[in-house]
Amino acid sequence: MSGGNAKDSESDAQLVGELFPFSISFDGAMRVTAVGARWATFAPTVRVGESFLDHFDIERPTEVRTCDDIRRHTADVFVMVLKSRPDFKLRGQFVAREGTLKFVGGPWITRISDLPRFGLELSDFPPHDPRGDFLVLLQTQESTLADLKSLAARLRATGAKMEAEMKLREQFEAQARQSQKLEAVARLAGGIAHDFNNILMAVQGYVALSLSRIPPGDPVRAWVEEIRKAGDRAADLTRQLLAYSRQQVLRPSALDLAREMREFEKLLRSLIGERIRLTVVCDEGLGFVWADGTAINQIVMNLSLNARDAMPGGGELEIRLRARSDMPNATVDADGFIELSVRDTGIGMDAATRARAFEPFFTTKEVGKGSGLGLAQVYGLVEQCHGAIEVESEPGRGSLFRVLLPRIKSVEPVAPALVQHAAGGRGERLLLVEDEPLVRKLLEQLLSRAGYQVSSSGDPHDALAIAEREAPFDAVVTDVVMAGMTGPEFAVKLEELRGRVPTIFMSGHTEDEFIRSGSLGTHQRYMPKPFSPADLLAKVRELLDG
């Protein structure tokens, strides 16, 4: 070998060492003859003269140990482990040349973020080495994967949110459908109750007149008494129907619910019996609601009786009053809300029963044990009080009804107590306006027999003509719902004509807001149909006596 050739060879080795900074050459005895430029700083013990096998294990191909083995695999990819640092591997190939074997390759790293761990940098991969680019490419792929993961997480969150919104929407829709259904049934029930009340009015009126003529001891009297009782029961049913259809006339006032509950508790205890343990808990300083006390008592009674029937073997009934800051779908401007809850430990309701619980005539009780109007009445009354009702129940886990009522901001003065008056007329002149002939005829007879002079008409326009034509009347008794003109409209026109006239409004179907809201004048009274003759006579007398 000439000096020039030796110089070239040395120069070539240097060039290879720079182009492949992790290259290693060794001779037939596997003694290292040359190393790449990076070994000096990366692992200085890997140097010329060292035994290759002292520093490296060949992991792939397997079972390769000698120079001959390596020569047979020069077309294969080699993976070698640096013994002094087993987590560091080299990947490359061997080139056989003039009695030497040269490893040409570099660190086997697949994540750019692993570089610092090995004390390496991207610049340790020369520009011609695609592994540097490969690491950048993999990093980009990793970033893209992270982007996609974040996108997937966001999609999942959006999906969950949408699912929750759809569920909520379904709930609202179901609630709306239920409200519409109950509203339709309520209108129907109200209409039936109105017509039915007129008929009942006549039945009860003529029964009363008949009883006044039948002497005690007459066997017919007992039969007529039975008719009266049946009529009373029918009247009770129509009252419940009217309550459900939110047409029961309420007399709202500022009501201290806690006080109302404490007064009602005693009656409630006697109603539910001794096998049920009743607890009434009222939080302090709850304030007032604007409601009708009788309606509240009806609500509590109906819920309690339902609870009692759900606990035939006894159990616990808890009535609780507490403040609440919110109410679903609240439509009134309220100073918070008061929650009246009734909880029992009874048999509970399944979802299907819960969904229909407030429907009129829906009952799970045996035939003849329940009218199916109790909860319907509660529903109607709560709505009429601008409140809301919620129910929670599971079979075998009891039921919890929550009635929410708006709390009022200030307390109105309490209406004065009614004074009882002796019934009967003293020849006073009454104008009777009633478009139902059956009722008109009955009332005419009733009032005339009681000592009043009665002029009557089935048409409000005609009644106005009578009022204009004749001398002033002492009082007016008028139906509310009439074709062409309502009772209140008639009263206004009459007062324009004749000044203030004491007036009684009768109705089985109170559609007029001024009556339902309880805003009658002091010279006006309201009588829900059906009423007894005695009630009417007492009311007329009371009005005339002022």
């Binding site: 973020s113 610092p116 940098e121 991207l122 610049s123 490419l137 990093q139 970033s143 893209t144 982007d147």
Partner: protein, 189 residues
């Protein structure tokens, strides 16, 4: 431009001005409320619209927004997984600037549709050089000013930059005359 750029704009706004401001800017730019994908190509208009909207919402000139973005970009890319790539570009400011094109060539392998700007260095001394910036996109020179500020932080030097527009010659471009001094605790740039 690739989504990585728009993501960086979003990152800048969110980190400095909050999520609500980002929503305002995104809405004003007419973009949907969905994340950018780094590897996806977006119309350049998206980025320009974002800068325009940021300028309107933040009440700052577009140039100031671009400069701030350039400053943020040097940190963002390092945190977004390209720190090693940046490290490979150089250990000193002049070395880094000389290797910018080299770095972009490597990046182009991952972002094949990348249309990066080109940089060259002249008049280099131990504390100054002239950086020539060539770009097909107009009006982005302020971004380079921000980038240089960011690199000043990276290499712990204070840089004074003087920008000029060169309209003569075969290829009009922007040039930046830089002088730098090591910050306290920095042995040398």
């Amino acid at each position: 431009m690739y989504g990585l750029i728009n993501k960086a704009v979003e990152g800048l706004v969110r980190s400095k001005f909050g999520d609500a401001t980002w929503d305002k800017i995104r809405t004003r730019a007419g973009l949907p409320d969905e994340p950018f994908i780094s590897m996806e190509q977006y119309d350049d208009k998206t980025t320009y619209d974002l800068v325009g909207a940021a300028s309107a919402v933040l009440g700052a000139p577009g140039e100031a927004i671009l400069e701030e973005f350039g400053y943020y970009w040097t940190k963002y890319t390092a945190e977004a997984g390209y720190g090693e790539l940046m490290k490979s570009a150089g250990k000193t400011l002049p070395e880094f600037l000389r290797n910018l094109d080299q770095m972009h060539t490597r990046v182009k392998l991952s972002f094949p549709h990348l249309a990066p700007p080109s940089f060259s260095v002249t008049d280099e001394t131990t504390s100054s050089l002239t950086l020539h910036y060539y770009s097909d996109r107009a009006g982005l020179a302020p971004l380079v000013v921000g980038l240089l500020r960011g690199l000043g932080d990276r290499f712990n030097v204070d840089i004074v930059t003087r920008a000029e527009r060169v309209n003569e010659g075969p290829k009009p471009h922007d040039l930046f005359r830089l002088t730098w001094t090591p910050r306290a605790g920095n042995a040398g740039a």
